[in-house]
Amino acid sequence: MSVISLGRPAMGAARAGLARGRIELRHTFTNAQDLWNYIFPAVILLVVFFFMGDATVPGTSFALSSRTMPSALGMSVAFGGLVTMAIALAVDREDGTLLRAKAIPNGMTGYLVGKITLVAGMGLVSLAIQLIPGLIFLDGLSVRGASSWFTLIWVVILGMVATMPIGAIFGSLIANPRNMGMIMLPLMGLIATSGIFYPITNFPIWLQWTAQAFPIYWLGLGMRSALLPDSMASVEIGESWRHLPTVGVLGAWAVFGLVVAPIVLRRMARRESGSRVAERREKAMQRVA
């Protein structure tokens, strides 16, 4: 049984998937939980900026908070792709959404396109919620001309393509949405070493190399290159924005994810059936009781 098939009905299903993503994105504006999830990162950033106070980036007179802002945007893109996607898949599998998709013709194509649309849309909304106040209130941040916008756009798109398939793989492998901690803990560690809240140029070399193997560092760097003055490149590794390596590493993650994710997703979808969903429902009910 092919999970994803091509042909005109499949193209139609892809369009239905876009519609599905738009509908679900609209749903996220109509309930408190989703709205809070949009606002929460901005609140965290505010708290962080408060504690940073007048601190500057070491070796410069540039405000540390203004350097943190774009880095945090990069982190937010990675978080959306990895965590939002993983949770969405794990939850949809547990509650039977995925099985419903499997029971209708080309439903898996529609489901996947819908989920990608939704997660990308949610990512852009939370990006805007953080970026717009940052541009207004933080000194030194600016989107100057077409080239800044261009950098911003390609970094965001490439970042999403690099992280969403990985998130989908995690979401397929996790048996239970409540086990997300298994992903969150290493991710937190990675964020701490990826130079989001503080430059890593003074970190041990091996730690710098570790951080540079993962997408979060490069997303932070890419966003800084779009939003900070070029003089700030001097405090980066190699004293450069390193666009080519950014494309290289994010591109490699994207290729890896796009090759592996369909295999893992297919395997997961093949195993879904009514009795599996019923089993999970039973377990969840026991937890509640």
């Binding site: 009905p9 299903a13 738009r22 039977g96 209708i104 013709p105 879904e272 009514g274």
Partner: protein, 324 residues
């Protein structure tokens, strides 16, 4: 609603399947998990338009059987044809002719009833044929399952019974030729159950849909099905209309009497002859005579009790003696 657009039809016309074909053909179906044989050679067919109930105690293999037919599980051995296609290799066109009623839990909670049905219907539009217009018009469908007052409600706000009607609506939105219902009324109160039975009757009347449902409830099987298959111990042990089965089950009668203060019980196929002989032999010594025909329910319930108490094999033989 503008967000849900109609799909373009596929270029190749969907071939009309010949009408005389059986909707389901199962021959010697086997399923094994590790060393555990769940299905040990199940065989049956379902004619087009027939409502078939797969009846059996919990753990008899009903769900496994229906999931193999739905294409959600790969069988270990045996021949299976669903609408003429091996469900292990069914394509999307085949999928479009099937309806599967799944038990919802909390999926699509943020969707409105009408919004969800309109969206899911879009996937079936390319598989519309001159004979079967797909999907079902969304307002007609909502009306058919009695959810018109709830059409604008969020799925998470529906009551249990309304939710199950939505499950059915999702299962039939593509106007399936064949509909699968796995334990459709589990957890229903009697009122919701009666409404659900009416809905199934309407379905088989309106579209001549072939329906395969599983249940562990004989009463439900008798009310809904044209034909009942009793599945136990991994095999079909009885197959017939509710009427046929009850006539077969009640062929045996139980005769009770007492003689000199001692009580006796005897099961016999010919109660009249047995009692005549009894009186010839003992005359007035016979007292407390009682002749009782077992109903299908008595026989089935006794069988289920035995089966679930772990004496499966013995119960199976006893039941087969009665129903064959």
């Amino acid at each position: 609603m503008t967000v849900v657009r109609q799909l373009r039809a596929p270029t190749a016309a969907v071939a009309e399947p010949p009408d005389d074909l059986a909707a389901i053909e199962v021959h010697d179906l086997r399923m094994r998990y590790g060393t555990n044989d769940v299905l040990k050679g199940v065989s049956f067919t379902a004619r087009r338009g027939e409502v078939l109930a797969l009846l059996g105690p919990n753990g008899a293999g009903k769900t496994t059987t229906i999931e193999i037919l739905e294409g959600f599980r790969i069988r270990s051995a045996g021949e299976v044809r669903v609408l003429g296609v091996d469900p292990g290799h069914g394509d999307e066109r085949w999928r479009a002719r099937l309806g599967v009623v799944l038990q919802s839990w909390r999926d699509h909670g943020k969707w409105q009833v009408r919004e969800l049905l309109a969206h899911l219907g879009v996937y079936y539009a390319p598989y519309s044929t001159p004979r079967v217009r797909r999907p079902w018009d969304v307002d007609d469908l909502i009306d058919a399952v009695g959810l018109t007052p709830q059409a604008g409600k969020r799925v998470s706000q529906l009551s249990g019974g309304q939710r199950r009607r939505l499950d059915v609506a999702i299962g039939i939105v593509g106007r399936p030729d064949l509909l699968f219902l796995d334990e459709p009324t589990a957890g229903f109160d009697p009122e919701a159950r009666r409404e659900f039975h009416d809905l199934v009757h309407r379905l088989s009347d309106i579209d001549d849909t072939t329906i395969l449902l599983t249940t562990h409830d004989l009463d439900e099987a008798e009310k809904l099905a044209d034909r009942i298959l009793i599945l136990a111990g991994g095999a079909i042990i009885a197959d017939g209309s509710p009427d046929q089965l009850s006539r077969r089950a009640s062929a045996d009668a139980e005769v009770r009497w007492s003689r000199d203060g001692e009580r006796f019980v005897h099961a016999t196929g010919d109660a009249t002859a047995f009692v005549r002989e009894l009186f010839q032999q003992y005359g007035e010594a016979i007292a407390d005579l009682e002749v009782r025909r077992a109903s299908l329910e008595d026989t089935y319930m006794a069988f289920v009790r035995e089966y679930e108490s772990g004496r499966g094999a013995a119960a199976l033989r006893a039941f087969e003696e009665v129903t064959r």
